[in-house]
């Protein structure tokens, strides 16, 4: 990356100002007189003893142990932006009760068990889990809410223009030159200062209303650099509304680690930021991003989970403006930690302290009190939504390249996959009427084999009068405007381009309507969409994106909405796909940019990574971070986007939620069969393995939609009390059953795998060799094998007949892998539906709960909905029986054939042929 293209905190005025906020001396107090409450909420004013500025504080109790805190200006000059689109509808309310009120504290309860205390002076909010203080807001006194103000000197503007015309020497010595001008102007004499600084020339012009009284900055601060204008490289941000940033500290007593706030190419457990830049959230098109640093990438989810041994809490900072998060571990004995101890009564254990600040908007904080990690992700999912079950094809292998030369090229690649018997589900390409003269026919050739196509649709519109879309946007005033109100023009792939304003509902409707099959030429219901470059990427813009003073629908500045632009593009595309199928088929959109809530719309990938081992290694922490932050359908380009991969890089990708092979234009062709024989075989077997596990993936994604638990999980999500797992980010779980430890170094011959769980058995999936947790064990690996284990006590559904495409496996029979725990028990689940339609939302699906206990394996169908299928069970593998049964019989008394292998203790039931739409059981006579 060319770091010079992106701002550091030092180069970013509001970051500097917020970071400079003084610790431990908060001027903000609650005005008890102003207290109001309802059955769900309380409202009270907060005042700064320094400036007398007033803020409105609102606490709202939400369903599922969530507390919502809002802080906004009272009577603002301009309404601040509220990022409502991140939420999945209006949150459901719960009850809030004031339990006790004194001149110093207000104790309250929320929801069923929530407990919180508002401290009056200085203002602070403490949230408890039982008796344990788990979150404290403004404990360090970093609340800094830059109220809006009228720029004191319109005068100043007049003067500076005079100064520029009069003082020709002004450019080299602005202070001196202006001083001369100021003294020369008759009305400025009283204000001129000895050092000649022009900023001190402030008229007595009054601001309107309350804001005037709340003036807390000194006159010098009023014109400190970066308040009313900021320059980065050659880009000037005009900042017509002046400083509007908001920030506050959030401490997590008892929490050793914090996670989340993607997207950063960094470790999963977030690092201390005191000695460098804070983690930055500002969606940008970063070319060849660097690893292990807090620079912003393509997407932003301002959500964080704090993990302590006994539990977990989450915070969601719902703000779409540029945001930073500082992370600092408290050290015992410091001012702040002693402050904390006063209230918590807890020990002196170091804990995580965070400081959040955004350039504009309000403080809109959702506090999720857990207490388990799964509770926290569910609570966050309740607020911002979960990923709807994708079509089955979307979980298969996606084949992509920038770019396939022409129709014949695509045809040959497709043929190559068939020739080498390698499954794939989706082919990506870009329309080009010359190179793809007959897209429908091409699509037909691919989709006839059950495959899908994805075309790229970016939000930058070529400014070309012959382009109907551009013309339509011009005529209907659909484009984002520059600061002067003219249509903004940036530079992107097509050259001069403008950007539809996706915050305008009419634009979104129009965009969605263009996906109709009769409007989007050459498409069919088998053609889906990739929204790239939607940060938005602007090649000639500041930090490769849109200037912050551009204007959006409703008069909001781009600065207010920036991080949400990409999500709004995808929302519109998704709706277009839903509309074109008359809400029959599930949509699929892949996006590079994202925000909190993007999970409701589709998949994301981690952008333009590099084909090397370091990028392979970072994929796991990056995808874990996304997964716990509500975005489970994510993947890193397999093989790596830039440069040419080693052969081994493909294997780990097969166990990512989103599995796509992709390559940059300038890389060597890398269709699997272009590698040597061994590598070709390896890639083929990796992809086929993925296909055999599709029933598990599909079941996990359905589970995610219902519970918000991500399919790809950090170990601590299943083993929340095992401190050892807290910093592990080189292995992960699929659901609660499969443990994956990707090999991330070239030529590795062994890896150290951590097996979690007391007395827990882990079976290697290839040979059922067993390991016992908890603890590390050295596992030999080779180029042909990556260490994957199934936990004893689980039942995993598979389909072992990998076909050309997942849709062709729809009727194939299942295999269940039953790995027993030490008590001889196991549990699992299978979810089945038609794999593509939205009928499942009306109940047309099957959930089969499987359990084995006391030598009986039985299935139970738990939903009442009806889904007809002929799918059956062809094989059941039971691992961990120390001796063979004497016979096996199903619930109808029919004998079931089986084989038992004494060495591996594997029992295979041959052709039980149970239907998956009926309940059944099978008994092992021992």
């Amino acid at each position: 990356v060319d770091r010079g293209n992106f701002k550091t905190c030092e180069q970013n005025a509001f970051c500097k100002r917020q970071r400079a906020t003084q610790l431990g001396n908060s001027p903000w107090e609650i005005l008890l007189d102003s207290l109001n409450s309802t059955i769900n909420s309380l409202q009270v004013q907060v005042i700064s003893s320094r400036s007398q500025a007033r803020l409105q504080l609102q606490l709202i109790a939400l369903a599922d142990s969530t507390l919502h805190l809002q802080l906004d200006e009272i009577n603002p000059i301009k309404l601040r932006y509220r990022a409502q689109d991140s939420l999945s509808g209006s949150p459901q309310l719960s009850s809030l009760k004031i339990l006790e009120q004194s001149s110093e504290t207000i104790s309250l309860s929320f929801g069923d068990t929530g407990k919180a205390i508002l401290l009056v002076k200085p203002f602070r909010l403490d949230v408890y889990d039982g008796d344990q203080l788990v979150i404290s807001v403004n404990a360090r006194g970093l609340l800094n809410f830059e109220h809006q103000r009228v720029r004191k000197s319109k005068l100043w503007e007049a003067m500076s223009s005079v100064a520029q015309t009069v003082g020709s020497v002004g450019s080299s010595l602005p202070g001196k030159a202006y001083s001369w001008v100021l003294q020369w102007l008759p009305w400025s004499s009283e204000a001129a200062t000895t050092d000649g600084t022009p900023v001190s020339v402030q008229g007595e012009e009054k601001e309107e209303g309350e804001v005037n009284n709340t003036e807390e900055k000194s006159l010098e601060e009023e014109e400190e650099p970066g308040l009313w204008e900021e320059t980065f490289k050659s880009h000037v941000d005009s900042k017509p509304y002046g400083p509007t940033s908001v920030g506050v500290d959030i401490s997590f007593p008892g929490s050793k680690h914090v996670y989340g706030i993607p997207e950063h190419a960094d470790t999963f457990a977030l690092k201390q930021t005191k000695n460098g830049d804070p983690y930055r959230l500002y969606n940008t098109d970063v070319f060849e991003y660097e690893l292990y640093n807090p620079m912003a990438l393509y997407g932003a989810v301002p959500f964080m989970i704090a993990k302590r041994q006994q539990g977990a809490v989450g915070v969601f900072w719902n703000n779409a403006a540029e945001t930073y998060v500082d992370i600092e571990e408290s050290s015992s004995g410091s001012v702040v930690s002693s402050l904390m101890n006063l209230v918590s009564g807890g020990g002196n254990e170091p804990h995580q302290q965070t400081h959040w600040f955004s350039e504009s908007g309000i403080i809109d904080l959702y506090i999720m009190t857990g207490p388990t990690p799964k509770d926290v992700v569910r609570q966050y999912g309740t607020l911002t939504g979960t990923t709807p079950l994708p079509q089955r094809f979307a979980l298969g292998y996606h084949q992509c390249r920038w770019n396939y030369n022409d129709q014949e090229d695509v045809h040959n690649v497709d043929k190559g996959f068939d020739l080498h018997d390698i499954p794939y589900d989706v082919m990506y390409f870009t329309w080009d009427p010359v190179k793809f003269p007959d897209p429908l026919e091409m699509a037909q050739n691919l989709t006839a084999k059950g495959r899908k196509l994805v075309t790229i649709v970016d939000p930058h519109m070529k400014r070309d009068a012959s382009y109907f879309f551009h013309e339509h946007c011009e005529q209907n005033d659909f484009y984002v405007k520059d600061k002067s109100g003219k249509i903004y023009e940036g530079w992107c792939w097509p050259g001069s381009a403008s950007y539809p304003d996706f915050f305008n509902p009419a634009v979104r409707d129009y965009w969605a309507s263009r996906f109709a099959l009769d409007k989007y030429e050459g498409t069919s219901l088998d053609v889906y969409t990739w929204n790239d470059m939607n940060e938005p990427s602007v090649f000639n813009g500041p930090e490769v994106t849109m200037p912050k003073d551009c204007l959006h629908y409703g008069g909001y500045e781009h600065r207010d909405v920036h991080n949400m632009y990409g999500m709004m593009v995808v929302e519109s595309t998704i709706r277009g796909q839903l509309m074109r199928s008359n809400y029959k088929l599930r949509p699929f959109v892949l996006s590079r940019s994202f925000f909190a809530g993007s999970q409701r719309f589709g998949a994301i990938w981690t952008g333009d990574n590099i084909a090397d081992w370091e990028h392979l290694a970072i994929a796991v922490p990056m995808l874990l971070s996304l997964s716990v932050s509500g975005i489970p359908f994510c993947g890193a380009d397999v093989g790596g986007f830039f440069n040419n991969p080693d052969s081994e890089l493909y294997q780990a990708g097969a166990f990512q939620p989103f599995f796509r092979g992709h390559a940059h234009l300038h890389t060597k062709r890398r269709e699997p069969w272009l590698f040597d024989e061994q590598t070709n075989k390896l890639i083929k077997s990796s992809i086929k393995k993925r296909y055999t596990y599709l029933p598990l993936w599909y079941t996990l994604f359905h589970e995610h939609e219902k519970t918000a638990t991500p399919p790809m999980r950090p170990l601590w999500m299943e083993y929340p009390q095992d401190v050892e797992t807290f910093s592990i980010d080189n292995q992960f779980l699929l659901g609660d059953a499969i443990l994956v430890h990707p090999v991330i170094r070239s030529g590795e011959t062994e890896v150290s795998v951590y097996f979690p769980g007391d007395n827990t058995l882990w079976y290697e999936i290839e040979n059922y060799q067993v390991y016992q947790g908890p603890g590390y064990q050295t596992i030999p690996v080779s180029i042909n094998k990556i260490p994957i284990f199934q936990r004893g006590g689980t039942i995993v559904p598979k389909k072992e007949r990998a076909r050309r495409a997942s849709s062709l496996m729809a009727k194939d029979p299942y295999t269940f892998i039953v790995t027993l725990d030490k008590q001889g028990r196991a549990q699992g689940r299978l979810y089945v539906d038609d794999g593509q339609s939205l009928d499942y939302q009306k109940g047309s699906y099957i959930i089969m709960e499987l359990s084995m206990d006391n030598y009986v394996l039985s299935s139970k169908i738990t939903n009442e909905g009806a889904f007809e299928t002929q799918e059956s069970v062809e094989k059941i593998v039971i691992v961990g029986l120390s001796r063979p049964p004497s016979s096996i019989e199903d619930n109808t008394g029919r004998a079931v054939e089986y084989r038992y292998d004494t060495n591996s203790q594997v029992l295979v039931l041959r052709k039980p042929n149970f239907s998956v739409s009926k309940e059944w059981s099978v008994s092992l006579k021992m």
Partner: protein, 502 residues
């Protein structure tokens, strides 16, 4: 012969599937009742128990495709809803609506084979012409080569003769000129002698003039009286300054003075008299060298002059040829003049013979180079050498000049870029002449050197069909030529059976 063999088994393998006995996996890994064969459950590691179902991940399915060609597909294609076999045998249970298209495909294939046969026939006829042309070209090249070789022998002999004649003519010329050279040298010696005695006289006179006390020796004091020796021009001649001219001795006798003293002193005397050239005196005025050596090198005009003359002589010595140039100052007698002219004539004759031989050698080399190019097993590609073929797409016009190079140039102006130069035949081992490699093209910006692979196929004419760039800077061309046509074979009729290996 319609044997009752299990579904998906080829005729060739039918005997391995006997319903009357237990079945043993073809890899020998297990044996079980025959009813396990094709029971839609995979029992063999090699997949051999399920030739007719999709149960085994690594199995294969044979379809006979009566009326067309038999085919083997992976088991994963069986009953997956897609018609792979033209006889629809692979979709016996999926409900896919497959129709038997083998007849149509078979006749289409036959038509195609017929078309191909005709193409090959016509193309091959042209190829035969090419072969003829190529062989003739080769032959005439060989003939020409032989002729040239013969000429070469002649030319070598001629050159040897002319060389001899040249030597013969140069010998008397040299002797005649040597005589003149002796006369010149003697005159030179005489002149030098006169010059030397003139110098000695001058030195002697100067000595006498400087030896003011007439004791036959020059002393420091005597020199100190002459302002000419005030080297630093501070108005006094110091002892050091004076001793410098006496080689740091107190005194110097006359013979030393004549030999070494005077050359040192003379320039100072001359300078004092204003006779030296101005630039030199400027230099000396600025800084007077203190070391003897330095002084001698830098400021002794005569010494310097001598050196220059020597250098000039050396240079002449290098460039001057043994004789022909007649020094303009010398008048030769008629006899000598005649000898010189005869020698010049002999030299010219030799040069001509030499040039002719070299030309011949060059031509032979070129012929041999072309001869060493591999124009195919029967020289059929030879007629393409020296030709160029073009193809244009939206942006570029591509040019292929077989056995030379490939290039592209933008259609809307811009210079030509070389994609590669002829390197070698590059087809697979079994069919080496099906592709050509051109490499070492122009380097890509920030990338590798361009290269080009040309795939040849049978066609009625030489034609560049398409150009692509499947990898960055690696180009591929498709080219048809009669030269690539093989001897046509009458297409077979009727169905065929794939005879798979066991």
């Amino acid at each position: 012969t319609q044997l009752t063999r299990p579904r998906g088994v080829s005729l060739a393998r039918a005997s391995l599937y006997s319903p009357d006995a237990d079945f043993t996996c073809l890899d020998g890994s297990a044996t079980f009742p025959f009813r396990y064969v094709n029971d839609d459950y995979c029992d063999c590691q090699d997949g051999s128990d399920e030739p007719g179902t999709s149960a085994c991940p690594n199995g294969s399915f044979y379809c006979r495709n009566l009326g067309h060609e038999a085919m083997i597909v992976p088991s994963s294609r069986v009953n997956d809803g897609i018609c792979d076999c033209c006889d629809a045998a692979d979709e016996y249970q999926s409900g896919a609506n497959c129709v038997n298209t083998c007849k149509e495909l078979g006749s289409a294939a036959q038509e195609e084979a017929q078309r191909k046969y005709e193409l090959e026939s016509q193309g091959y006829a042209i190829k035969l012409e090419y072969i003829n042309k190529g062989r003739q070209a080769k032959l005439s090249q060989q003939e020409r080569n032989m002729a040239l070789k013969a000429e070469q022998v002649e030319a070598e002999a001629l050159r040897a003769e002319k060389e001899r004649e040249k030597h013969e003519a140069e010998e008397p010329e040299k002797q005649a000129l040597d005589k003149y050279r002796q006369i010149e040298q003697e005159a030179m010696k005489e002149k030098e002698e006169i010059e030397r005695s003139k110098q000695e006289t001058e030195a002697s006179k100067a000595f006498d003039w400087l030896d003011s006390n007439q004791d036959g020796k020059l002393q420091v004091e005597e020199l100190q009286t002459h302002v000419a020796f005030d080297q630093n021009q501070d108005g006094t001649v110091t002892v050091e300054e004076a001793k410098f001219f006496l080689h740091n001795e107190e005194e110097m006798d006359k013979s030393d003075f004549i030999a070494t003293g005077w050359p040192l002193i003379k320039p100072f005397i001359m300078k004092a008299q204003g006779l030296e050239n101005p630039s030199k005196s400027d230099q000396q005025a600025g800084e007077i060298p203190l070391s003897d050596d330095h002084h001698q090198e830098e400021s002794m005009p005569e010494t310097e002059g001598e050196e220059e003359e020597e250098e000039e002589h050396e240079e002449e010595g290098e460039t001057v040829k043994p004789s022909p140039v007649t020094p303009s100052s010398v008048e030769y007698d008629a006899e000598t003049q005649e000898l010189i002219e005869a020698a010049n004539k002999a030299r010219n004759a030799y040069d001509e013979a030499d040039r002719r031989l070299r030309d011949l050698e060059r031509e032979i080399r070129q012929l041999e180079e072309s001869n060493s190019k591999d124009y195919g097993p029967n020289e059929e590609y030879q007629p393409m050498d020296g030709q160029c073929y073009e193809y244009s797409d939206r942006e570029y016009t591509y040019k292929l000049c077989p056995f030379d190079s490939g290039s592209q140039r933008p259609k809307h102006g811009g210079s030509e870029t070389r994609l590669g130069s002829w390197d070698s035949w590059d087809g697979p081992a079994a069919n080496k002449y099906s592709a050509m490699k051109y490499d070492k093209g122009v380097q890509c910006w920030n990338g590798p050197q361009r290269s080009l692979k040309v795939h040849l196929s049978c066609g009625m004419e030489n034609q560049l069909l398409s150009v692509s760039e499947p990898n960055r800077c690696e180009y591929e061309m498709k080219f048809t030529t009669p030269a690539a046509c093989s001897e046509p074979k009458k297409p077979d009729e009727g169905d065929s059976e794939i005879h798979d290996e066991l």
